[in-house]
């Protein structure tokens, strides 16, 4: 059949262009627009150049928020990845209890973020919350609204509770895909449990674990709703992560210029990290000869 050259076919791409334009390009360009202008209100804008970017880059407030953000992402990755793997290894591989475990594991993932925040906000209260009350009884006066350490612990535990399941399910899927012959061979080779993990399970889970790390990093790097509900970014700015700080700046103070510059850089950081992960993963696939 001859190839027919018909430029009208380009119209078929139009719907997706319109969709992407409205969902991504126009909002992003609006932000770009804000980031290079300043206003004194009344919709009068004037050119600011890269001024806002310079200001944000040198802002101690943003530096601090970035530091808190990295610390938070680092901590939850350090907890969730090993914990998720451990849970996946302990889960039954088949039968009735495997299904029960899978359903239970999936439950936290199905709960809306603001509800997760509310659950932990209430749990941590000393008057009506189970955890707060219990801690209070054993002599720890729990107060996530006053004590920054308590606030951090609450937010971290909440995130671990909410998202470890995802890591566990991904790791579980990775484990399930290991052919039984590997375990049998390892048994015949008299490999210890640790060696089975180190030389069979971990290498075979590598792919899914990279995805898990990528997802958890990006999600935690953008975390907003849960800490906003529990601590509102406080006490002080102890749990003001990047997005909370950004919203404070954009909507609280209505500093549209710096906030726009801030969010563009935020976006670029996530893009960069995703690109690095993507490259690493495709290289791994190549190394395996797939």
């Amino acid at each position: 059949m001859d190839k027919v050259q018909n430029n009208k076919a380009w119209f078929l791409v139009l719907p997706v262009l319109v969709l992407v334009a409205f969902s991504a390009v126009i909002p992003l360009m609006t932000v770009v627009n804000y980031s290079v202008q300043d206003t004194f209100g009344n919709n009068v804008f004037f050119w600011e150049g890269l001024g806002w970017f310079q200001e944000v880059l040198t802002s101690e407030r943003v530096h601090a928020a970035l530091g808190r953000q990295l610390a938070f992402s680092g901590i939850i990755l350090a907890i969730q990845i090993p914990l998720g793997i451990a849970i996946a290894i302990c889960m039954p591989k088949r039968g009735f209890w495997a299904s029960v475990c899978l359903v239970l594991m999936a439950l936290p993932l199905l709960i809306p973020w603001n509800v997760v925040g509310t659950i932990w906000q209430i749990l941590g209260r000393t008057d009506i919350g189970l955890v707060g009350y219990a801690l209070d009884k054993v002599g720890i006066s729990w107060n996530y609204a006053r004590n920054p350490v308590h606030a951090w612990v609450t937010v971290v535990i909440m995130d671990v509770w909410h998202w470890t399941s995802l890591v566990a399910l991904l790791a579980y899927a990775g484990l399930q895909s290991i052919p039984q012959a590997y375990y049998q061979a390892a048994k015949i080779d008299q490999a210890s449990r640790w060696k089975v993990f180190r030389y069979i399970e971990l290498p075979k889970m590598q792919g899914v674990l990279l995805i898990a790390i990528l997802l958890r990093f990006m999600d935690s790097f953008m975390i907003y709703t849960e800490p906003f509900v529990v601590t509102g970014g406080g006490p002080g700015s102890a749990t003001s992560f990047l997005s909370i700080d950004l919203v404070k700046m954009a909507l609280g103070q209505f500093d549209l210029g710096p906030a726009a510059a801030f969010s563009i850089m935020y976006f670029l950081v996530i893009l960069l990290v995703s690109w690095v992960f993507y490259t690493v993963m495709t290289n791994l696939d190549k190394a395996e000869g797939r």
Binding site: A181, Q184, A185, K187, I188, P203
Partner: protein, 368 residues
């Protein structure tokens, strides 16, 4: 190394097997000699993997015992039985080097480093991978990975048996030949008891001293390749082994004469009166095409030239019947009959071979 005794062994995957048909592996009683190479041959689902898993200790049989030498190992696991196994698909530790892969079973047993190094060198030389010992196993071809698996199976000297579960499935055909020859050489050199599961008759017949043919959960014959060829004990062995398989023709047998749809066929021995479904079986190699009045009238459908010989595909009373003619043997243009070498005809009642009351001495097998 040890002799393997299968004592009244049977296995069912059901918790409460009722009848015979509930058993994936029907009762069997065998003694497998120390240092011999056995092949378990059969179609998929015939129970050969079940039997292999029972021997390797991955499955505990529902009934019976399994002995290594005098030791009852029925309830011992794979490690206690001290056997090595090579699986259908390559099992290598991707993150280790080829050398570490080979050394793994030895190191886990706390062997002396110098011994491990020497042994790894030896095995590497055997599987032809000395060049890549320091390479990571990840990214090697399936062939190479399976060679590592084979090497790991062979690296320990003190194993009771080495089991192979269709190990050459993923290997290229030309490589198969080479690896099989190597395995055979290794067997001759070290004298391990080897059990090799396969559904490929060529693999089984070239590798093994004794072939165990399985069909429908039962061992239908255990014998040397010659025995399987000359006197298949079951019709399944007849048509499963050989290319093409044995011709089976419904017949009535009386004395030393068989009648196939009214045509008389002389047999090599005399038989007592037989009950059930009676068939005569003759390998295509012992079928001759003639013209005239003698033999079974056949219609020739086509002739396939497969190099060293020709396969004549014909029909007798609507059923396929094949003959193998050596290269250069002319096929008469008016050939319409087939005659069988009488001493090569086996008689089957309900699929099992019936021994003749008296027979002419079995002739030596001629090379075909």
């Amino acid at each position: 190394m040890a002799q393997i005794t299968l004592d009244n062994l049977a296995h069912s995957y059901l918790p409460n097997p009722k009848g015979e048909e509930d058993y994936a592996l029907k009762q069997l009683d065998h003694v497998w000699g120390d240092g011999e190479a056995y092949a378990l041959l059969g179609a998929s689902g015939c129970g050969k993997s079940t039997l292999l898993n029972i021997i390797s200790g991955l499955l505990v049989p529902s009934r019976g015992r399994i002995l290594f030498g005098d030791r009852d190992v029925t309830h011992q696991d794979t490690v206690e039985r001290n056997i090595a196994q090579v699986f259908q698909f390559p099992v290598v530790y991707d993150t280790m080097t080829v050398g570490d892969n080979l050394a793994f079973p030895l190191r886990n047993r706390g062997m002396d480093a110098a011994y491990v190094a020497a042994r790894v060198q030896k095995i590497a030389a055997m599987i032809g991978m000395e060049e890549v010992l320091n390479r990571k196993a990840r990214g090697l071809t399936a062939d190479a990975k399976q060679k590592i698996s084979l090497g790991r199976g062979m690296v320990r000297e003190d194993v009771n048996a080495i089991l192979f579960d269709e190990p050459l499935t993923v290997i290229d055909p030309h490589m198969k030949w080479e690896l099989r020859t190597q395995l055979k050489a290794l067997h001759n050199e070290f004298g391990h008891t080897m059990i090799y599961v396969t559904h490929d008759q060529t693999e089984a017949l070239t590798f093994a001293d004794k072939v165990v043919v399985m069909h429908d959960g039962r061992v239908v014959q255990l014998g040397t390749p010659e025995e399987l060829f000359d006197t298949p004990e079951h019709t399944f062995v007849g048509y499963f082994i050989g290319s093409p398989g044995m011709n089976l023709i419904e017949a009535e047998v009386a004395g030393n004469l068989a009648r196939c749809a009214g045509h008389a066929v002389r047999l090599g021995g005399t038989y007592k009166a037989l009950q059930g479904r009676v068939q005569i079986g003759v390998r295509p190699e012992f079928v001759q095409l003639v013209s005239g009045e003698e033999g079974l009238p056949v219609t020739i459908k086509r002739v396939e030239d497969v190099g060293r010989h020709q396969i004549v595909r014909a029909e007798f009373q609507g059923r396929a019947i094949n003959a193998v003619q050596l290269e250069g043997t002319p096929i008469p243009a008016d050939a319409n009959r087939m005659i069988f070498a009488p001493e090569r005809i086996n008689v089957y009642a309900d699929d099992w071979r019936v021994a003749p009351l008296q027979s002419v001495a079995t002739p030596q097998r001629e090379a075909v």
